[in-house]
């Protein structure tokens, strides 16, 4: 199974390179002979943005709960844990905004515990036409059964395939400082793309974290 995924990954990489080569062939790059590396990178990113890959899937897990509240604030005042802001866009494979998406987000608290009796650290967001979401939460805790920190996502939108996935953190000690090498450890993470870089910053004396996690949905 994993081998198939690796092959797919290589194919996707190839197709990106092919895309760039196509651009060169069509003269898009030739037009500016003295193009800098930054410009080239920008062009690459633009090409990537124009055709993002569908976000890889993950398992739903046993602790999904229906009917969560539509709130961007998961962290209550005084909650233990490192404050975390997660933001992103919901797009289709052409990079266009997907309106009317519904985004269920749930995670364990700082101590690694899911609230199954109430709705702490659970939200059902409705990003609307802008297709952007943002939540204020804490870095999820570790727990023994699934030792990498993660946030669960269930995203549905009219005309698109429902996506079940999870967000992981490159700063997680589980990846031992090298997510490229260790994301396959323990068979926990389905795809490297789900391990996101974490921005660490300080705000009035408190360490804070932020992660950008864009979601790309396939057409139904």
């Amino acid at each position: 199974m994993r081998r198939i995924k690796e092959v797919r990954m290589k194919l996707r990489r190839l197709s990106r390179r092919e895309m760039l080569e196509n651009c060169i062939v069509r003269g898009a790059l030739v037009a500016s002979a003295a193009m800098t590396e930054t410009q080239l990178l920008g062009f690459w990113q633009q090409a990537e943005q124009a055709a993002p890959r569908p976000t890889p899937e993950e398992v739903l897990g046993p602790f999904f709960k229906k009917n969560a509240p539509n709130t961007p604030t998961l962290r209550a005042a005084g909650d233990p844990g490192i404050p975390l802001k997660v933001a992103g866009r919901i797009v289709n494979t052409k990079g266009e905004a997907v309106p009317d998406a519904q985004v269920d987000i749930w995670q364990a608290d700082h101590h690694g515990r899911y609230d199954v009796q109430g709705y702490r650290y659970r939200a059902k967001l409705k990003p609307g036409a802008a297709s952007r979401y943002e939540v204020e939460t804490v870095m999820p805790g570790h727990y023994s059964d699934r030792p990498a920190q993660h946030i669960h996502y269930l995203i549905s939108a009219p005309g698109h395939k429902t996506l079940i996935t999870q967000l992981y953190f490159a700063t997680d000690p589980y990846f031992e400082g090298d997510p490229d090498r260790n994301y396959t450890k323990g068979g926990m993470v389905s795809h490297r793309d789900l391990v996101r870089p974490v921005l660490l910053y300080e705000q009035p004396g408190t360490p804070r974290t932020a992660v950008q996690f864009d979601i790309c949905l396939e057409r139904a």
């Binding site: 398992v59 739903l60 897990g61 046993p62 602790f63 999904f64 709960k65 229906k66 009917n67 101590h111 690694g112 515990r113 899911y114 199954v116 009796q117 727990y143 023994s144 059964d145 269930l154 429902t162 079940i164």
Partner: protein, 298 residues
């Protein structure tokens, strides 16, 4: 059955247990994939039933003499105690099997796989029954009615789906529960379906209307195992603490009708499985540690 609590097979980790041979033996799946059985009174081990290496799934028919095994690439098998060769070999199914259940009458076998497919086999012909489907999350638990005609799938999307296995018709989607179900069973008369899971409640459903009849509270932990006595009067439940499956939990024996607690037994770690003896006087449980505990039903 002598009415004294005891532990069998203290050096074995056993799952998917069942009383067989009219209650004389307790059988289960050992960690190495063999199906082992012990005398329920003396604890003496009976000859093991050979299985394919890597067997991970086991389900018994009503009397326990016939059982199904699976979770290996070569496909599920139907076996009989006292017989070395499988009674029936079914073709390999696509996808890695995650759960397997044999109906009490031995007529029907249902398998779920990690790719979220569910397949139903007619045991006598070995043919696939019409396709049935769970939800988007994958099957967390499933149960077949005693006659094998109805299959209920509990999905991680928290919904329960009742299917007719002969027609492949979706009878009802039960959307009442906000959280997942981990354990499910039909009453021996087939009139009631019982489910339990994350919400720590036991839910009773009428299998004619598929309406939620009532819910029983009182379990301190999430419920992962449930067993109904053969006369349907008593219910055993056990599960796991939501911080660690190594934390102690309670086993509850309750009257299925009134919910009155008949017995409350402490367990040092999470309960994995439970089964009643055919005469209903005792039941067996396994936990995350080793051994099979036999308890007086109270």
């Amino acid at each position: 059955m002598p009415g004294k609590d005891r532990v069998l097979a203290p050096d074995q980790r056993v799952r998917q247990i069942c009383f067989i041979a009219r209650g004389e033996l307790v059988a289960g799946l050992a960690a190495d994939g063999r199906v082992l059985a012990w005398n329920a009174t003396t604890g003496q081990q009976a000859p093991a039933v050979p299985t394919e290496a890597g067997t991970r799934l086991l389900s018994f028919a009503g009397d326990g003499q016939v059982f199904a095994t699976g979770g290996v690439p070569s496909g599920p098998r139907l076996r009989r105690f006292g017989s070395e060769a499988p009674a029936r070999e079914f073709p390999a199914l696509a996808g890695e099997a995650s759960r397997l259940v044999l109906s009490a009458d031995g007529s029907t076998l249902a398998l779920s796989s990690r790719d979220k497919a569910v397949r139903v086999l007619d045991v006598s012909t070995g043919r696939l029954r019409p396709a049935v489907r769970g939800g988007i999350g994958g099957t967390m638990a499933m149960a077949l009615s005693p006659d094998g005609r109805t299959l209920v799938l509990a999905d991680a999307d928290t919904n329960l789906r009742a299917w007719s296995t002969r027609e492949g018709e979706l009878l009802r989607v039960m959307e009442d529960l906000p959280v997942s179900t981990f354990a499910a069973a039909f009453s021996p008369d087939g009139k009631t379906f019982v489910s339990a899971g994350v919400d720590r409640k036991v839910s009773f459903w009428d299998t004619r209307t598929w309406k939620l009849q009532r819910q029983m509270e009182g379990q301190p932990e999430m419920i992962a195992a449930l067993a109904l006595s053969p006369d349907g009067r008593f219910l055993v439940t056990g599960g796991f603490d939501d911080i660690s499956s190594r934390n102690p939990v309670s086993i509850l024996v309750r009257a299925a009708g009134s919910g009155a607690v008949v017995r409350r037994i402490p367990s040092p770690s999470a309960i994995v499985d439970a089964a009643f003896s055919p005469d209903g006087t005792c039941f067996a449980t396994t936990n995350r540690g080793q051994g099979i505990s036999i308890w007086d039903a109270g």
